[in-house]
């Protein structure tokens, strides 16, 4: 895309005098005024006011269809708007004066921060930090109520596991899967089918322990993933996004309409997990804590497994595909097969999570909505695509906030915030809050016109680059 070539998006600001000069205060004041009341500064004011109004609308009261502008009036033409205008003003000061403050802030930092850092030795989070986090995770449930621990399983844990799987698709292979929850549904319904004669109207002749369903669901989801991915991935990578979107919707439609799945009523009475092995008899029942620890163990294992995958030839080949698909092919990397592999691995993790979920509680088709898929995408993006720890942190933070704010923000409104978070992250921090070093480097290099950072083909408006 040479039309806007490699100019970084920093707003153009007149060079500012070094703040340490004599007479600094007055000069600084003049510079500040100039920055604020320049054309660019006033534009920024406009943007900030718009942001303030949007926030007012987001946090305002709910409206009614009978009175289309009612909500707008109550949110904006009301005293509460003052708060948001103040927020807008503060934001404006921060943005417009940032160029003045930057020299102060960056004085202690190394000067050259080009797109390329010279040494690429892979460094992983130190073992100590990981252990500390693990210990925190282990003792956490002791400090929380039962309701909170239940959420730590259903909301945080399951979604962390889902995000780890989707991270293989988005973070490792550089593709987008928007129907990810469909595989979760496949896992859940498979569990109901194999473990109980009554949960849904279709059932297997013998009822199995849910533990035996893990491999079945794992394989089924992977097969579904391959069937869906194979025809699509051969074409442009972005088609995968819309095909999976459609697939997600179809699975929900079938779950809702089919007689086999009990339709909208959903599945009741899937047996809980239990172990009967070598004299050990243990059953998971209603207490959420044992589920929590089981899930924690699974998440840790999955993280270790995917870490090894990432550092293996498979992970390197994925990186090669993201950075330059044509060069990867020419270097002997079977790109189509590896993309399918990533897609299938992601799908099977989702199916696996579905078994866990189904064996814990009642479910109906509503759980497998499009929004659930989008939530997983949001978690991966927010946490940091390509970083295993990042996506888990993403789930903890976003879902934790959702729980913390459950009385203040209605559940349905959450997705307004999630949507905003996704856009803001894409604009300001596409690598996420806990970035993967490799991913971050790729994104920054791609923005400077070196290589790519996904496997969707060339960037918009530069068709010729892909050849």
């Amino acid at each position: 895309m040479s039309t806007t070539s490699a100019t970084p998006a920093t707003p153009s600001v007149a060079p500012t005098p070094p703040p340490s000069q004599p007479g600094g205060a007055a000069a600084l004041g003049r510079a500040a005024a100039a920055a604020l009341f320049s054309l660019a500064g006033l534009r920024q004011l406009g943007v900030c006011v718009l942001i303030g109004l949007t926030l007012a609308l987001m946090t305002g009261p709910n409206g009614k269809a009978a009175e289309p502008l009612g909500a707008v009036r109550h949110a904006i033409l009301a005293p509460r708007i003052v708060t948001y205008l103040i927020i807008a003003a503060v934001l404006w000061l921060l943005i417009a004066l940032w160029p003045l403050a930057r020299p102060l802030w960056s004085m202690g930092q190394a000067a050259a921060r080009g797109p390329v850092t010279a040494v690429a030795q892979q460094r992983f989070a130190p073992l100590g930090l990981n252990l500390a986090l693990l210990i925190v995770a282990i003792i956490m449930p002791m400090f929380f109520s039962n309701a909170a621990v239940t959420w730590m399983v259903d909301g945080v844990g399951i979604y962390a596991l889902l995000a780890l799987g989707l991270n293989v698709v988005i973070g490792y292979a550089g593709m987008l899967d928007l129907g990810y929850i469909a595989f979760f549904a496949i896992g859940a319904y498979t569990t109901a089918y194999f473990t109980s004669k009554t949960a849904i109207s279709a059932h297997f002749p013998v009822s199995l322990n849910p533990f035996f369903v893990f491999p079945i669901a794992f394989v089924l989801a992977a097969v579904a993933g391959v069937l869906l991915g194979a025809p699509t991935l051969r074409l442009r990578g972005d088609y995968l996004a819309i095909v999976t979107l459609g697939f997600g919707e179809i699975i929900q439609l079938i779950a809702n309409n089919s007689h086999w799945t009990n339709g909208p009523r959903g599945a009741f009475g899937v047996p809980h997990l239990s172990i009967h092995l070598l004299g050990i008899n243990y059953s998971w029942k209603l207490d959420p804590k044992p589920y929590y620890y089981l899930l924690l163990a699974i998440i840790v294992l999955v993280m270790i497994a995917f870490g090894r995958l990432e550092r293996s030839r498979i992970g390197r080949a994925w990186a090669a595909i993201r950075e330059d698909e044509i060069a990867a092919e020419a270097t002997g990397v079977p790109t189509l097969r590896l993309k399918l592999l990533a897609f299938a691995i992601g799908a099977s993790v989702s199916g696996f999570a579905g078994v866990l979920f189904a064996s814990k509680q009642f479910f109906n088709p509503q759980i497998f909505s499009l929004q659930a898929s989008f939530l997983v995408v949001t978690i991966v993006i927010f946490g940091g695509m390509g970083n295993r720890l990042g996506v888990v942190v993403g789930s903890v933070v976003l879902q934790g906030l959702a729980f913390y704010l459950r009385d203040k923000v209605p559940a349905t409104d959450r997705f307004i915030y999630f949507g905003a978070v996704v856009i803001v992250m894409m604009i300001f921090r596409p690598q996420g809050i806990v970035p993967s070093r490799r991913r971050k480097r790729e994104i920054s290099l791609a923005e400077h016109g070196v290589g790519h950072a996904d496997s969707l083909g060339s960037a918009p408006t530069s068709e010729s680059g892909a050849r």
Binding site: L57, P231, I242, F374, G419, M426
Partner: protein, 310 residues
Amino acid sequence: MGFVHQFWQLTIDGLMSGSLYAVIALGYTLVYGVLQLINFAHSEVFMLGAFGGLFAARELVNNFSDTPSGMASVGIVLVGLAVGALCGAAAAFTLERVAYRPLRKRNAPRLAYLISAIGASLFAVNMAGKLWERQNVTMELPFTNGTVFHVFSAEVNTKTLVIILVAAVMLVLLDTLVARTRLGQSIRAVAQDADTATLMGVNVERVILLTFIIGGLLAGAGGFLYAMTFSASNNMGFIPGVKAFTAAVLGGIGNVRGAMLGGIVLGLVESYGGYVFQASYKDVIAFLVLVLILMVRPTGLLGERLGRAA
């Protein structure tokens, strides 16, 4: 009641939904043409246009004590279309400015655009749900819906006729715009090669913005037609969106006439298919068509180039 007996009725129904798909599909195809980008949030442009048009037209209809007729009906439909189109255009403009332009300025990878579009879509759907409730909103028709004429055994009622006529007019207008005007020429130039177009003095940023706006106008007006006949709701955009995208791929994404043809063909296939299979699985048909076309002829019926289309 065999298929043959129903054939004409199914054809009329298919044409009606097909022409709506075509109108929405143009937005996908135009944006894909200039940016090689699936604008995932286009379905929300459609939804916002639907709400805008519906609210405006409903306000007017409510002023009448009984169903309007004659010029009043025409006027109300036109106002609904205009407001819907403007709301759609405004939504598309905002979308381009907020979700896409910052990324383009930074030369972001393509994945970022898709994700940003998902964010915008989530935001819009749920914001609409917050502002106008999460349920179907309907309006009284601004005209008496009777049978206008028969095509063999099938009845063509006013509603169907209005939709097909309005859609046809919009399609013709757009085709003329792309084929004959300076703007259309610029759009085709950018679609073919943005770099060269820049060298030739085309303001690419402006063309991109206008392309979004044109797509928004069409989708918004289409949204009003949809809302008037069925209903509007915050998540109404999703299924017509996927179908319109399917139509665009079916015709050859990036190809304007392809999108029109694709919409009509998809509408018909769906209509016949819905009769043959169960009606509740009608939405599956479009998806199967999408997967099938990707497997068999991924460049679509008419091929992919916007430049070649007109």
